[in-house]
């Protein structure tokens, strides 16, 4: 499950000087957010954040460019959250605590709880498309999925959200 080979993008090796400080400064929030959206749980997201950056330090020689770094981090976050999801503890326990917390803390027009309640495979594409602003093609590359799959997941996610949002148009 833990694939880190996603980023086959070839970029100049000598020109990019990896700087973990900058990487952490720029992307810790992104990693944490993606993990949170996928796991709906602050403590799990925290674990993933720490995990991902330790992996990054170990694999820093592989990072070839800023784009590659970001892609690598997204991929690693997805992989790391898989291992949390598949852990025995998680499989045998239903955790709605965080979700209800989220709900309590939000107002009428909040949409995040709705997104968090989407099936796992929809959440990630919604996050990447609407929040990170990636194109369908980019998401397909990042998640090693066919473009059609990404498109259909997006559209099904939109349908579900539309029902919840009582018909409000979410096409952007």
């Amino acid at each position: 499950m833990l694939r880190e080979s996603l980023c086959t993008v070839d970029l100049p090796k000598t020109e990019y000087l990896f700087n973990a400080a900058k990487a952490f400064e720029s992307y810790s929030d992104m990693v944490y957010r993606l993990a949170f959206v996928r796991l709906c749980n602050t403590s799990d997201a925290e674990d993933v954040l720490s995990d991902v950056f330790l992996r990054l330090i170990k694999n820093s020689k592989k990072i070839k460019s800023e784009e590659h770094l970001k892609a690598w981090l997204i991929r690693a976050t997805i992989n790391c959250s898989y291992s949390v999801l598949s852990s025995a503890y998680r499989r045998h326990r239903a955790d709605f605590e965080e979700l209800s917390k989220q709900k309590a803390a939000t107002t009428e027009e909040s949409v995040l709880p709705l997104v968090l309640e989407l099936p796992q495979r929809f959440k990630t594409v919604v996050y990447m498309y609407y929040y990170e602003g990636y194109s369908v093609e980019d998401i397909a590359k990042l998640c090693s999925l066919p473009q059609g799959t990404v498109k259909s997941r997006l559209s099904r996610a939109r349908q579900q959200l539309k029902l919840q949002l009582k018909g409000e148009d979410i096409n952007v």
Binding site: A20, K22, K101, V111, V115, Y130, Y131, G133, E168
Partner: protein, 701 residues
């Protein structure tokens, strides 16, 4: 609606500062106990990176209370960022007379003892973990060096060549930048960074021939098995029968001596009067990480940056001082040549070494504590810019909580460097092209992010419903809620005299180019506005036009009279999705009405222009009508990459594809000598007829 709402809500999800601190401490701990591995070069970088993380974090979060540090400043500092920004232009060095103003109270020299005391203070404040620090300090303190080097006569003239030839694409004419491929019109020099070799080939009018090879790769263990050293190449210059190679020399110790690793940048100067037999004249070294280098006539400047993170010890100068010198003989940089930024700085130096390549003597060395890692150099000055990210700092005045760029100016006089001025502007810069000097005014384009801490009432409300240790709604979170772009004009003392702010909200700068009184820059989110700015009145820069077209240019190059060439990516107008490489020719003859005269989609998915030093992969020659760059195309099925070197011309208002030549990797360069076009990489040189691009010959390395 949905998108904005989602964005707003996800923006609020942030890890807590405590967590970030913990993770980084953990990373730091791990890397210390890690054993050396097979590939030490990467290992060292790894260690360094982790250290950087730790430093950034500690320095940032704990906040160093060094702004009150008496040795370097008599004046107290205001805690109000705004006041500092406005009032703190204490000029220590006068750039015109190179003498310092005694009236400001910094007449005494910096001494090693002062530097040591300051480092100790930094170290202590890091370990105390206090966070009393509130403001960015300012003001460069130290003494101006008045040592003038002797002017060396440059004896040897370069062998006259009949054929014209191309050179590395540089930012400023007359200021050469190092690269991996160089030519002197007769020979082609190709650097292989990984193998640590320079291949010298005779161009031979299209029939390239290997002549000789300079090799200095070293990879060895010391006799006691404790020390491992490894030397690889980075950059190269060729001029006046001199070959200058800048390489990285890493030493790692198992026992953890010298912090476990040390890195120095070695500059080797070879005599290539007879390229068949290059001989080493001298080597120079300086500690730190390589930033960049420049060559102006015979004066070579090598810039590095060095960080310190361990407890300094007064007796052991290597724990807090940068070193430089000839050969293996490194000495601390003299006290009089070190100065320091006041206030909140990282414990890292900007180190500049100046060498005359003809006589192979050191002309000057300077170090500045807290200066930057991006340099802009023209014939008279060196500007070093440091991006200081503010998200790490807690500031009481949220409206001023932005990133800043700290600037340092060194004046060049016959290869000798003089501290000239310091200053700062809001925002962070993209690369060396973000800076420029013209008619005594310094211009800089930055992207400004504003961080706004969420008001305490809202966070209290929210923390009431979330658990106390929740990272989602931590009290002290800082949100980057606004991103704009700015242009500043500064005078020779680096005081802001003119500015344009709040340009293109939510976009960031992709490329900048200044051309005399006009500045151009490109910002991007979905469509590409090309801004032209009139800078003829430094106090009042004006936006003349903003051209919105799909895609963005990552590199801008003035091309002939009234034209501006842009190389970048085409993007979908609706979605902003990138569609492949694009060439644009802008008509800028009327800066008030800039328009895209023509564009061409190149058959490649990606160019290397956006990468660091990407401008060196481009070759633009108006006389020969050549626009060439290296690019890559992906086969999505086999996931293979195809490297090519694309050659274009521009005639009668259209781009004309002249050839797509075989490339061998991202580090491919093109050059011409006379009527022969050469595509060079560290694997091979291939020669083509410049008129019809038929293959003439090639040589493999």
């Amino acid at each position: 609606m949905f998108k904005e709402q989602l964005k707003k809500e996800i923006d609020n999800i942030k890890p807590s500062k405590q967590l970030k601190e913990k993770i980084l401490a953990d990373i730091n701990k791990r890397q210390v106990t890690e054993k050396p591995q097979k590939r030490p070069v990467n290992k060292v970088r790894w260690v360094y990176s982790a250290v950087c993380v730790a430093l950034a974090l500690f320095v940032g979060l704990s906040g160093m209370a060094i702004n009150r540090f008496g040795l370097f400043s008599k004046d107290g500092f205001s805690n109000n960022f705004d006041a500092v920004l406005e009032d703190s232009k204490e000029m220590v060095f006068d750039c015109d007379e190179s003498t310092h103003d005694d009236g400001l109270g910094v007449s005494q020299s910096t001494t090693y003892k002062e530097i040591y005391t300051r480092f100790n203070e930094i170290y202590k404040s890091i370990n105390r973990g206090n966070s009393t620090y509130k403001t960015y300090g300012d003001g460069l303190k130290g003494t101006a060096s008045a040592t003038m080097g002797t002017v060396e006569d440059s004896g040897s003239d370069m062998a006259t060549q009949n054929d014209s030839f191309s050179q590395t694409n540089t930012q400023v004419s007359g200021v050469d930048e190092a690269d991996i491929v160089k030519t002197d019109g007769k020979y082609i020099y190709v650097l292989n960074p990984y193998d640590g070799t320079v291949e010298i080939a005779l161009a031979n009018k299209g029939q390239p021939k290997k002549v000789s090879k300079v090799s200095w790769r070293r990879e060895e263990w010391s006799s006691d098995g404790d020390t491992y050293s490894f030397k690889t190449a980075r950059d190269m210059f060729v001029k006046n029968n001199r070959l200058v190679v800048i390489s990285i020399d890493d030493v790692k110790t198992k026992s953890g001596k010298n912090n476990g690793s040390s890195r120095k940048i070695v500059t080797d100067i070879y005599n290539i009067e007879s390229p068949e037999n290059p001989t080493l004249i001298k080597s120079f070294s300086q500690t730190g990480q390589y930033i960049s280098s420049r060559l102006i006539e015979n004066n070579l400047f090598v810039f590095t940056t060095q960080s310190f993170y361990n407890k300094p010890s007064e007796e052991e100068k290597q724990t807090y001082l940068p070193y430089a010198g000839e050969g293996e003989d490194l000495t601390p940089i003299p006290e009089k040549d070190i100065c320091a930024f006041n206030g909140d700085v990282d414990p890292s130096y900007f180190i500049a070494l100046s060498v005359d390549i003809n006589s192979a003597v050191i002309k000057d060395k300077k170090a500045v504590l807290g200066a930057g890692d991006t340099v802009y150099v023209n014939n008279n000055s060196i500007y070093a810019a440091a991006n200081c990210y503010s998200a790490w700092y807690k500031n009481d005045n949220p409206s001023e909580n932005t990133d800043i760029t700290r600037l340092l100016k060194l004046k060049i006089e016959n290869g000798v460097l003089l501290f000239a001025a310091d200053g700062k502007v809001k925002g962070t810069i993209l690369n060396q092209f973000s800076m420029d000097e013209y008619n005594g005014y310094f211009r800089i384009v930055t992207t400004v992010r504003e961080y706004v801490p969420v008001s305490s009432e809202t966070s209290k409300e929210k923390s009431a419903v979330s658990s106390s240790n929740s990272a989602v709604f931590s009290d002290d979170r800082v949100v980057a809620n606004k991103q704009t772009n700015s242009l500043y004009v500064l005078n020779s003392r680096l005081e802001t005299v003119g500015k344009l702010e709040d340009i293109a909200p939510d976009e960031r700068v992709y490329s900048v180019r200044f051309n005399g009184d006009i500045g151009y820059f490109v910002t991007f989110r979905q469509v590409d506005p090309l801004f032209s700015v009139d800078l003829s009145n430094p106090a009042n820069p004006k936006i003349l036009s903003a051209l919105k077209i799909p895609g963005f240019s990552e590199y801008l190059h003035p091309f002939g009279e009234g034209l501006l060439l842009g190389i970048g990516m085409e993007a979908d107008f609706e979605t902003g999705r990138t569609l492949g490489a694009k060439l644009s020719m802008f008509d800028v003859s009327d800066p008030k009405a800039v328009y895209e005269k023509t564009k061409h989609l190149a058959p490649c998915e990606q160019t290397y222009i956006g990468a660091e030093n990407g401008h060196k992969t481009v070759m633009v020659d108006e006389a020969k009508n050549i626009i060439a760059f290296s690019g890559v195309d992906y086969d999505t099925v086999s996931t293979k990459s195809y490297y090519s070197y694309y050659v274009y011309g521009y005639s009668s208002g259209e781009f004309v594809q002249k050839a797509v030549l075989e490339g061998t990797g991202p580090d491919t360069r093109g050059l011409y000598i006379g009527d022969v076009f050469y595509v060079c990489s560290n694997e091979k040189i291939t020669a083509y007829n410049i008129n019809n691009y038929s293959k003439l010959g090639s040589v493999n390395f």
